[in-house]
């Protein structure tokens, strides 16, 4: 499912709203999460999961083509941990 399909499905369940509004809702949600993470904040959605930011220390990397050493500076990466209810939902029907 891609973003436009997500918008379509939510719009189908809300015929009284404009699809345009649903699109804005989805974008507002994703933007708010991204914005929070960019400040280093956590986003916790009970039952769904939690987004956080982890920092990766600076390290020496190598250019795989030339083998030259390059320094890779410290960086932050977003991380998602699925919530308990989500994990249970994924494993509900015992797979075959």
């Amino acid at each position: 499912m891609i973003k436009s399909e997500l918008v379509g499905r939510v719009a189908a369940a809300n015929p009284h709203l404009y699809q345009r509004d649903i699109e804005n809702v989805v974008n507002a949600i994703l933007d708010t999460i991204s914005e929070a993470l960019s400040h280093g904040d956590r986003v916790e959605l009970r039952g769904f999961g939690a987004f956080s930011v982890k920092s990766r220390p600076a390290r020496m990397g190598r250019n795989p083509r030339t083998g030259a050493h390059v320094s890779v500076s410290e960086k932050a990466v977003p991380f998602f941990k699925s919530g308990k209810e989500m994990r249970q939902r994924l494993n509900r029907e015992s797979a075959s």
Binding site: D21, I29, L45, F80, S82
Partner: protein, 103 residues
Amino acid sequence: MATKTITRADLSEAVYQKVGLSRTESAALVEMVLDQIADCLEQGEMVKLSSFGSFVVRPKGQRVGRNPKSGQEVPIPPRKVLVFKPSNILKGRINGEAVGEED
């Protein structure tokens, strides 16, 4: 710099501010969006949200784990796990503002 924790209430508030629907409706829509994503993942389908990232369900095979307290071996049954792959845009956004942390 204290880190905050953003919750559903904050997402609803953002939707309320940005979209201009009622607070009740905003909260209900946040819930519906999360539900649709969860439903889709439950079916094993991947969810790709451009400029944000994608959620992928990955199967994990059975392996032998160990009870760390007793040292006893216990089989961990095969299961499905959810992984989030952040888009390059999201990764950039997070590092763009974290530059001040350097040095």
